[in-house]
């Protein structure tokens, strides 16, 4: 990455220093060099883009970008102001911190995009200089267009998906990361009350233990610990039960294999949220399970022992949901284990248990290690299971008070969600949690990514 940006700077530098006068003018007027040297259509496209950008900045974006870098997110409240000359109260449209931040982010993205276009213009001119110096002809518009479905076919292929990505992933993300550095919460809801930059105050709040319930660190650590415990159990119980059931079905001499598999796989057909809602009602205090057992156990709302029962039930229900998937996957891989491994083991006199631990399990682990880590990350962010079963509850004020709004079975994601949808939302704290989740997922995913053979050997089969 660094090398590449260094190359980019080098291109700009040498274009400025040694470029022709057309190239140098193109630093100010994008596309001038191209148009002046006969690539009219291309040059006009660049000029059009630059004109649009300038107009956008003048009439819309510039103001918001200014706000973003001037250190305040709006000062004027909307309301009525006494007009001395007319002797009346006038309605004044005030600032809206939220819109300032949102449009500011959008403008930032637009500016970045324009910078890319501008750089392409410089690079094109630089290449044209080189071509002319070698006495070659410049490419015509037709040739440029043709290369877009040939050597540079990746450009039209990548642009539409990336537009979607910029609008619905990149921009919202930048926006939410910026929120983490403001005091945007229920006490600062624009347009009634404005919010502003507060630096690292939210991070300090989240990670400090200071007394009087002001620091969230204790609660944060509890939620984090449960998130990891949950992710660990959810991932490995599913994996091993799925593997064991797959092995049972694949055992030699077991008949009706397809029927047994179908019994479990049917569960996939029911959408997850339906299963979860159904389970929630079955396990309800007045639900059918208690009616059958003749008990009155609060399966999902018992607060005793740090809400132990709801936690166990969540993991059990998750087994019901997840095992069919791992079963399917494991059966697929089991069928691919080379038969000679088993034959060799049998000749050596290994029993079924030895074979499982010495051949089947290592082989499975080797192939599915990336899958396991991906699952683990997925479970850290497994919103649906927790939210639909317990909603993060039961409410447990002894341990989770102090304005954190966290509850006993909350994962980081459900805590984040509650903070943004609560009657007293705290968007700033939620953003801090989001950033924490990102860091955790990023570290774990990078480990997987670098270990995955698919990345290293992507050309193995070509």
């Amino acid at each position: 990455m660094e090398k590449r940006s260094a190359n980019g700077i080098k291109t700009i530098y040498s274009a400025l220093k040694a470029g022709s006068w057309q190239t140098r003018v193109s630093f100010l007027i994008a596309g001038f060099g191209q148009a002046a040297r006969g690539q009219i259509a291309k040059g006009l496209c660049y000029m059009f883009a630059q004109t649009l950008f300038i107009l956008y900045m003048l009439f819309f974006g510039g103001r918001y970008l200014g706000h973003l870098f001037s250190g305040n997110l709006g000062v004027r409240l909307s309301g009525e102001v006494w007009n001395e000359e007319l002797q009346i109260f006038e309605k004044v449209k005030g600032d809206n911190s939220f819109l300032i931040l949102l449009y500011g982010t959008a403008t930032l993205v637009v500016a970045l995009l324009f910078f890319v276009v501008w750089f392409m213009n410089i690079k094109g001119n630089h290449e044209n200089d080189a071509r002319l110096a070698e006495g070659r002809k410049l490419t015509t518009f037709r040739e440029d267009m043709r290369s877009l479905i040939n050597q540079r076919f990746y450009i039209p292929l990548l642009i539409p998906p990336f537009v979607g990505l910029v609008f619905f992933t990149v921009m919202p993300l930048i926006f939410m990361v910026l929120i983490a550095f403001t005091n945007y919460d229920y006490a600062h809801m624009p347009p009634g009350k404005l919010f502003d930059w507060v630096g690292l105050a939210n991070f300090k709040l989240m990670f400090s233990f200071s007394g009087g319930g002001t620091g969230f660190a204790l609660v944060f650590l509890r939620v984090l610990a449960w998130t990891f415990i949950w992710a660990f159990f959810a991932t490995f119980t599913n994996y091993f039960l799925g593997l064991v059931i797959a092995l049972l079905i694949h055992k030699k001499g077991i008949k009706l294999k397809a029927l047994w598999r179908t019994l479990f796989v049917i569960a996939i057909a029911v959408p997850q949220f339906v299963t979860l809602l159904l389970m929630q009602k079955i396990l309800d205090g007045d639900g059918i399970l208690n009616a059958i057992l003749g008990t009155r156990i609060l399966w999902l709302t018992d607060q005793r022992y740090l809400s132990l029962l709801p936690r166990v039930m969540i993991i059990l229900v998750n087994i019901w949901i997840g095992v069919p998937y791992t079963l399917l996957m494991c059966s697929g891989i089991l069928m691919n284990i080379p038969a000679d491994y088993y034959e060799a083991a049998k000749i050596d006199g290994a029993g079924a248990v030895r074979i499982f631990f010495d051949i089947t399990l290592p082989y499975m682990m080797h192939i599915t290690a990336p899958y396991l880590i991906t699952q683990f990350v997925g479970n850290i962010n497994n919103f649906n299971v927790i939210w639909l079963l317990t909603g993060g509850g039961p409410v447990d004020n002894v341990h989770y008070g102090g304005g954190t709004q966290a509850q006993s079975t909350d994962l980081l994601v459900t805590w984040l969600y509650r903070l943004t949808t609560d009657q007293n939302p705290k968007y700033n704290v939620a953003s801090v949690i989001g950033i924490v989740i990102f860091v955790i997922s990023a570290v774990l995913s990078l480990i997987t990514y670098n270990r995955t053979s698919a990345v290293k050997s992507e050309e193995a089969f070509q």
Partner: protein, 286 residues
């Protein structure tokens, strides 16, 4: 002698395995059975969900009549089909485009782009949900199905891994002949790679078609108009967020779930082979 002992031992362990499978299988099927049973339980239809066999039990299709007559379920069904069909088309197209570019073509920014996509995929989607809502609001798109389609397919580029893994396995020799004949990359993409990629296309279509049927969080944020609900949000609100307790609507909820489940089952049944290839392939390739 020795063999017969072995055989008996084998039979005994097989019986044990059968018993275990039967018990586990029952555990997995029972909740679904309960769902279907409740869906067809007409009388008493409300109030008593905590009795397995209440007095005056009657089975029938009454809940389905109620579902389509008294609730807006048919409207929600149409909405869901519109949204999932269009977002599935867009998503599949996007994924195929990104996968082809990153798998079959070589250009300077390829590795950086793959890294950027990897990093972007690590942010939790919920984090940006509020911002997405306001962006849609600024575009005047909230409360519309188009917004849902855009949200579901906007991030499609992030889930290109499985498809790219598949493209990676197609031998280069296939297209080299075509290049010698002077075919452009566009022609290669259309006439050589796409026909070979049928299993992965079916897999992508299937998964992206089904995801709108299962999401209720984004719908809940973006759509507030009951007319515009998808089935998942409709069913969710039916037993969770309305003033009456879930007792009143539980049988109707089960009937609705039965319909949705039926649609998804039939899709899976017809495409099962490809789906299994898809997830096993994806697991092996990470």
């Amino acid at each position: 002698m020795k063999t017969s002992i072995r055989k008996i031992g084998g039979n005994a362990s097989n019986i044990f395995v059968y018993a275990l499978l039967a018990i586990l299988g029952t555990l997995w099927v029972l909740p679904i059975f309960y769902l279907v049973y409740t869906a067809f339980r007409v009388n008493p239809s409300t109030g008593i969900i905590n009795q397995l066999f209440p007095e005056g039990l009657k089975l029938g299709f009454g809940n389905f009549t109620r579902l389509f007559r008294d609730t807006m379920f048919s409207k929600w069904l149409v909405n869901t089909i519109i949204v999932s069909a269009s977002s599935c088309a867009l998503t599949t197209l996007f994924i195929l485009m990104v996968s082809y570019a990153l798998s079959r073509m070589r250009f300077k920014l390829r590795k950086p782009i793959m890294n950027i996509l990897l990093v972007l995929g690590m942010f939790p989607g919920f984090m940006s949900m509020i911002a997405v809502y306001f962006i849609l609001k600024a575009m005047g798109l909230t409360n519309s199905l188009l917004a849902l389609v855009l949200v579901y397919s906007g991030g499609a580029a992030l889930s290109y891994y499985i498809c790219k893994g598949f493209f990676d396995t197609i031998p280069k020799a296939m297209e080299e002949a075509a290049i010698l004949d002077g075919a452009s990359q566009f022609v290669i993409f259309k006439t050589i790679i796409l026909p070979l990629a049928k299993p992965i296309i079916v897999y992508t279509v299937l998964t992206s078609f089904i995801s709108p049927w299962c999401d209720f969080i984004f719908v809940n944020t973006i759509i507030s108009d009951r007319e515009k609900y998808t089935v998942s949000l409709g069913l969710y609100k039916m037993i969770n967020a309305e003033r009456n307790s879930f007792n009143d609507n539980f049988t109707v909820f089960c009937a609705g779930s039965f319909v949705v489940g039926g649609i998804i089952v039939s899709l899976f049944m017809s495409m099962q082979k490809y789906y299994v290839e898809g997830i096993t392939g994806g697991a092996v390739k990470g």
